[in-house]
């Protein structure tokens, strides 16, 4: 029987890794994937707590969270495609047209 804090630790490590990825990387695709990693880590936390308190609400929320993440990934990739067609780059440091 694995104690629940172990799952929470794994979730925290994955979340931090995702956060570092979003902040440090310039490639928009990898930023999006790090964002998905963060969402996954939070889902793991939800399921661990649902197991602890024996409340099915955690599972329902994870189900809805996965759905929302799928919708967000689709729209984010569509935006990325539009930007790539206009500027031929996925490097977010080069997207400064509105800057003075």
């Amino acid at each position: 029987m694995i104690p629940i804090p172990h799952y929470l630790t794994v979730s925290a490590i994955l979340f931090t890794t995702g956060a570092i990825g979003v902040l440090m990387r310039r490639n928009a695709l990898i930023m999006l994937m790090s964002l998905e990693l963060m969402l996954n880590a939070v889902n793991l936390s939800f399921v661990a707590y649902a197991r602890l308190h024996q409340d099915m609400g955690g599972h329902v929320f994870v189900f809805l969270s996965i759905t929302v993440a799928a919708a967000e990934a689709a729209v984010g990739l569509a935006i990325l495609l539009t930007i790539f067609r206009a500027r031929a780059t996925v490097d977010v440091d080069n997207l400064h047209l509105l800057q003075r």
Partner: protein, 162 residues
């Protein structure tokens, strides 16, 4: 058995997560992310959540990651355009801040151990029960959100101005 599985899933998931962030080529990052997601599905199965485990594989690993891989293949980035991002010092600093962040993000650990759940915990009937009674409003709002996302993605990805 459960301990053995947990440690395998944990090491592969954390390793995969770190490799997602550190690879230059987005294709390799995507493959490692798929591996991490499958390990997380294993975690959900260990935590008595067969429904969310299968949904994780079906939606996340089977649809969202396929979509991301599609876009990566369509963009077809050459290796020369991907340069080194950030120097070694910056990454070391990021690693240190990451360690601090892990300790800061960790919640106060629950004192009492988890009891054994009833046999129908996490089954598809239980999730359906809760989803269509208590959480009806988020369910309907999510369906509207999906509709908006479909329309938005189709319009944004078309070639001409609509």
């Amino acid at each position: 058995m459960e301990t053995f599985l947990f440690w395998i899933f944990a090491i592969v998931a954390v390793g995969g997560g770190i490799m997602v962030v550190f690879h230059r080529n987005p294709m390799s990052s995507a493959i490692y992310l798929v591996v991490t997601m499958l390990c997380l599905a294993g975690f959900y199965a260990l935590l008595a959540g067969p429904f969310v485990a299968v949904i994780q594989v079906l939606v996340y690993a089977g649809a969202v990651m396929v979509l991301i891989l599609f876009v990566i293949m369509m963009l077809n980035l050459r290796d020369e355009t991907l340069q080194r991002e950030g120097s070694m010092v910056t990454w070391l600093l990021a690693g240190l801040i990451g360690l601090v962040l892990v300790v800061a993000v960790l919640p106060p650990f629950p004192r009492t151990p988890a009891g054994a759940p009833p046999p129908e915990f996490g089954t598809i009937e239980e999730v359906g029960n809760k989803l269509f009674t208590v959480y009806m409003l988020p369910f309907e709002l999510t369906s509207v959100l999906l509709l908006i996302a479909i329309i938005g993605a189709v319009i944004l990805a078309k070639r001409r101005m609509l």
